[in-house]
Every structure is written in C-alpha cells, then in structure tokens.
Symmetry: C2
Subunit: 446 residues, 2 copies
Amino acid sequence: MKPIKVGLLGIGTVGAGTFNVLQRNQEDIRRRAGRGIEITMVAARNLDKARKIVNAGVGAGVEVVSDPFAVVNHPDIDIVVELIGGYELPHELVLRAIANGKHVVTANKALLALHGNEIFAAAQEKGVMVAFEAAVAGGVPIIKALREGLTANRIESVAGIINGTTNFILSEMREKGLDFATVLKQAQELGYAEADPTFDIEGVDAAHKLTIMSAIAFGIPVQFDKAYIEGISQLQAVDIRYAEQLGYRIKLLGITRRTRTEDKEGGEGIELRVHPTLIPASRLIANVEGAMNAVLVQADAVGSSLYYGKGAGAEPTASSVIADLVDVTRLATVDPYCRVPHLAFQPNEMTDVAIVPMAEITTSYYLRVYVKDQLGVMADLTRILADAGISIDAVLQKEPGNQVNLDIIMLTHQTREKNIDAAIAKIEALPAVIGKVTRIRLEALS
Amino acid sequence: MKPIKVGLLGIGTVGAGTFNVLQRNQEDIRRRAGRGIEITMVAARNLDKARKIVNAGVGAGVEVVSDPFAVVNHPDIDIVVELIGGYELPHELVLRAIANGKHVVTANKALLALHGNEIFAAAQEKGVMVAFEAAVAGGVPIIKALREGLTANRIESVAGIINGTTNFILSEMREKGLDFATVLKQAQELGYAEADPTFDIEGVDAAHKLTIMSAIAFGIPVQFDKAYIEGISQLQAVDIRYAEQLGYRIKLLGITRRTRTEDKEGGEGIELRVHPTLIPASRLIANVEGAMNAVLVQADAVGSSLYYGKGAGAEPTASSVIADLVDVTRLATVDPYCRVPHLAFQPNEMTDVAIVPMAEITTSYYLRVYVKDQLGVMADLTRILADAGISIDAVLQKEPGNQVNLDIIMLTHQTREKNIDAAIAKIEALPAVIGKVTRIRLEALS
C-alpha cells in the first residue's frame, strides 16, 4: 500500500520529537503498521528552524510552509497532526481539517477540554478520527487503556498525577525540605517549569487532562468549566513534613469519581477536581516521584490498575502521537462504526450525569490549626468537629520554632466539604486560633 | 446491527467471571461497543454447574453442551472464547475454530507460548483474529500497551512481576520473616496457590507469559523452549532479609531484553529468563506487593513505563477477555490488514534474532557464602572475584545463629553469567567455605 501522508502543524519540542522518532524508528514502525507513514508537509512560524529539523532527518520531499491552513487544505494530506498548542488557532485549524475530511491527531489537552464536544461532533459527522493519546500523561497509553483496555468495566474512579512540573516540585520540596518558591525557581532553571508556570502550578493543565479522562471514563461530555481547580502555589513545606510524619505524601491529584449527591434524591453525580492531596505513603502512586506521571483507575471487574511513565517531553509525547498515527493509518479506510468512539462511548450513548459542586464532595481532611498554647484549645477544636459529626483519625501536636504557639494537626474521617468548611469557620473564630486553618484533602485510594 | 454471537469453551473461574461481567455491564459495554455481544453457547464438562451459572444470569437462549467441538463447529458462532486451559484439547479446538473461520479469544498462555506460531499462522491464513490480552497479567492491558500504545518505540526490555502466587509468597516471606514452605501452605489455604503449585512456584507460568511478551516486543516468534526458568522454591528467608538490609527486594521477575552476544561478532540477541531477582527497594516495581502484577517496559522514545494491576482472578481476567471481545467485534468485518498484527509485527516482518543462552547473559549478582570464620577467607573470596574481573559493589558480614561461622554477602558489578559461575566453583573449592554458594541475580532496572 502507498504510505499515508501526514501534515505537521508546529515543529516545536513535540513536533521535532515526532519527526525524529518517526525517522529513527521508521523501519520498526513500518514492520508493525504494515504501511509507511510519511510526514510530507510541515507548517511552522520559524521556517529556517523547521527546515533545519526536517533536513537533519530525511528532508527530501517534505514541504515546509508558514501557513498552517495550507496544510489542512492540501488535498494530498490524509492526517493532520496539530502540535501548535493554545486554543484559538488550533480550534480553527482542527475544525477546518475535519471539514476537509482529514483525520486529526493532537496533543492539545486545552483544546479538547474546552472544545472537545464540538470537535468530536464535527469529526463524527464527517466520519473522520480525532486521536489524542498524547494529550493526557504524555507517553503513557492511558487513553487507550481507559477506552479499550478497560472497556468491560464500570469505571468507579480515576485519580492521577498528571502534571510533571508540580510533581517534580512536590518531590523536591519533600526530599530537600525546601519551600515552594525556591523549588519553583530551580525547576525553571532545569527546564521542568516554564517561565510562566501558572497553568501547571495552579492545576489548570491537570484539570484539562482530567476533564478528558472523566468524559471517557463515564461517558459524559467534556466539561472543563465544571472542574474544581486548586494548585500547589499555596502549599507550605511544613505541611509536607507533617504529612510525612503521619505516614502520607502530598501530591497534586486529579480525581474524577462516581458519587451520590445530596441535592437530588439518590442522584448520581461525578466528581471532577484537582487539588493537593494527602495519600498514604504505602500506596504505589504515592511513590511516583519527580516529573513522572501515573494514573490509578478503580473499576468494578479489574479492581485497581495503575499506568506510569513520562508525562511530558519531546519523545515520550511523540511516542503517543505516533501510536495515534499508526491507529489512524490502520483504520483510515474502514467504516466509522469499526473504530473506537472518540470518548469511549458511542456519541448517541453519552449521558448527562452532572458534575457535583465541590461543597457536595465527600472526602477526608488534613487540618493544621496554629494556636496559642492555651489550656482547653484542643477541647474546643474537638468539640466543634464532634458537633459537626466529623470524627478525628489522628492528631499531631508540634511546636514550630517558638515554645509559645502550637501547630495542631488533625486528620478527619470522611465528611462533606461544606461540613468541614462550616467547622473551619467556627475554629477560626476561636480566640486561641491564630490566622487561617490550613485544609488539605486526603484520599485513602484503597 | 445484530449482536455478535459468542461461544464459551469452559465455564470455570474465568468463564463464570466472563459470563457475569458481560451480564452485569452489558448496558455499558453495548454503549461503548455499539453492538451487542451475546454468549449463546457454553461448553462445559459439568453441565449442571454450567446451567446454574448461566441461569443465574440471563439464561434464556444460552445453549449448554458437553462437547466443545459442537461450539467451534456451530455455524452461528462468530467468536470462540477458549477458557479450558492446558495444551492438547485447546490446541485442537482453537485450530478447528480458526479453520471454521471463527475469531478466537483466549486466556491460555501455555497454549500460545508453545503453539502460538502455528496458531497465529493459521489465523493469518484464514483471515481471523486470535486475541489474548487475558493471557498475560490478567486484567492489566499490557498486550495492548505493547502492541499498540508503544508502537512508535524500539523496545529495549520488558521486566515483569507476572505471577501473583509467587509475588504473594515473596511478600509474605519478607513481611513476616517466614520460610517458603510455611508461606506456600498458607497461600494454598487462602486460595492464592493451587494444590499442585509447580507451574507457579517454579516459574513456568511466568515464562509462558514472558515468552508471549518477548515475541511482541521484539518481533520474534514465540520460543518457550529457549526460556531460562528458575522458580522460588529454593529461595531462603535469610536471603530476603539480607537483601532488604542492603536496600533490595527479591521478586520473581520475567526479563526479556535486547543484548549482544559474545559468540557472534557484535551479534544481536534476546534475553528470555525468569528467576528470583534483587531489585533496588526504591524502584516502583519493587513495591508491588501481594498477588499484584506489574510490567516495566523500557523503550527508546517513551523511556520507562509501568503497568500495574491484578494478574489473576475471575473478574480481572474476564475484564481482558471482554476487552478482546469488544476489539474483535469492532474489527470482525474489516479487511485483515486493518487489524493489529497478532504479534505486533506483520507476519512477513518477523525477525529471527536468537535467544541467548543463560551463560552469555550479563547481569549483577548477590552471592552468599557460608564460611568458617578463618582469617584470610575474605581475602580469598575477593581475590577469586578480582581474578575473574568481577568488581564488588557491597559486602555484608553476618553471624547467623552461632559465633563460629559467618555469612558473607557480596553484591557484584555486571558480569557474564559464565564468569560468575566459574568464580563460584573456585569459591566453593576453598577449604573455609561450607556448602554451596547462594547466587541470586540482581537488576538495577534504572
């Protein structure tokens, strides 16, 4: 068979990685795919740089252009690989490519988390594929595991370390006892964090990825606007240390889970939340360190399963882009009903189970209360929690620096977030309590 | 579309699990697959038991028969699910099913490790699929990850904890300090080990699974007869304890890896070996405890990735059987070239890279030498190793029980197995050395 023709939009880190891996392993890939996969067009802002990358590879026959629309409109291109990033331009380009009957491979989680419903509907209408393994957890084939590997299961929850930058920062903070700002600066120098790290450290990137996994796991539309997002920039080194003393690690987890809401009688809901989370140190996922990613899935037949690997970087991401290219190549000509649906469920079989608001979530909590060392303060704290029906699992009392004031750390049983928030308001009103209560969610993940 | 019709051969643990999961989640599975999947025939030795399981489900319309050939020969059956186990009968049944133009799903690693080449060739010839996700690591979708998720990569090595029984035994031995025989008995009482545990504890089951992964990873035929197999029945509690003191865990690992042989000039070779292995305790895979499975893959683009979950049991295995059923259902009618090749590489693109004999393997070693506490014995040991060009990484000296004799434990650098064996023969000939040297291989897995 003739090789399939691929147009690349963007030849930055991932684009260059894709080009290089496809060149280096073309023999193995062809032996597997049974058909050649050729990048024949590349659109790039910096033409010189793009030509340099292309020419370092095979070069001949690859057309380098500055206008990405020239690629998506080109009649010879079968598959468009979108690696530009951002929202506006890729949105337009991907829709145009689909309208032109081309299959699309993208690593753009932001695009899919925000415009996935529109894009997948357009692709469905046109009978083309939009593949996006590279959009979640880089080189880890988690989309394939969720959509295909676990297809027999009713999935109960997905919990992931899906942002390498924040996991690197948290690992460094714990291992070296450093504070957030210091480690962030180091991470930027090492290239693990971007100059503007907001999307990573504030949890937005993780929420994009989680939104996509949530849709696939539960057969619901992507609903990024409903995600609860809390990053790690407010996290203090002292809490990481106390957590460790209690047998926990703090990770930025993306969690999506089936739940029951109070507002509707026995109503089903879906949790969709990203925040720092205490996890028992004995859990495998608690031991995922550095810039690595891992996704833990709970499902009814298979039980717990975990998928671990590099979540970013040129070649790990390229690994997923090319896996998608091979899948798309294989299924390019078959009847669309023979393909795996974009969001795992057939488009006419999606449900509209609501994302529950954060106040309705049930989980456990780590509370740190900074108090004047007065007789009776512990009694006040425990009374407030008891009145709210919140049980305490563990208490730790520490003197940070001076001998006068105390850190009181408590781990609670499961309770609704609105209950803990009400109790915290009462705790903060106690005269012996100094400043705000630090509250970090805790998941047993058992 | 009409539902696809499935015939089940065997309704033991996995068969019943498959029946139950398919019934329980039929709505979700249909929403994903876009087509119903119906078990319409079941062949079982115990008809009463089979009817009981079937009737507890939907029941009506499922024909229960005692002759499995009635299923594979039945014109209405589209897919045959072989869950009988063993070699002879399944071999015949699977080949007959293929000859009859039926697709096959099997969990039978023994069958594929021994007869895979013949079976896949027959399936290729006939244009049908043989799917076997359930044959390796139970519910973990590792076959899909290797064949599809990592298809862009040149795979360097696969190392797996792929037998739950032995991992359970090793975990218990370490945690409770018990010896092998005691823990095996407990495992049998708990149902984690079979009455005749030979296949598990001697590494045969792991070698079956490793053989299949090796073929997929490297594009070579299945070659079970070339696998090196060493089980855990000779492993002593004292070595687990010493390993832990040195910062290692002992796991039964299946390892398959690209290597270079000495016998051919720069010749490529493949390692294929199952044996107890020391792993640094800090590695994620070293922390896989109990009956869980995990597979660590090293590949050029993606780097390290790991896949973890339940490796056995009715429903985890059923999860993979049904995932295969959905895949096969989706691709039942497409041109065969649109399907993923059985062993990842196109049948005409397999290579014949040789499996290297164990003497040619290069790895590190844990050696325990039991000696009379004589002056100069350490000098003799180190001289023998130095003469063989083997460097020592760590030494531990212990007095087990009495004050007269000593355990000397040494961790070596990498060396060829034939070198260490020659050195061990010399060590055992020393007058101060009592009995045999305990030798366990060590892998850094970095």
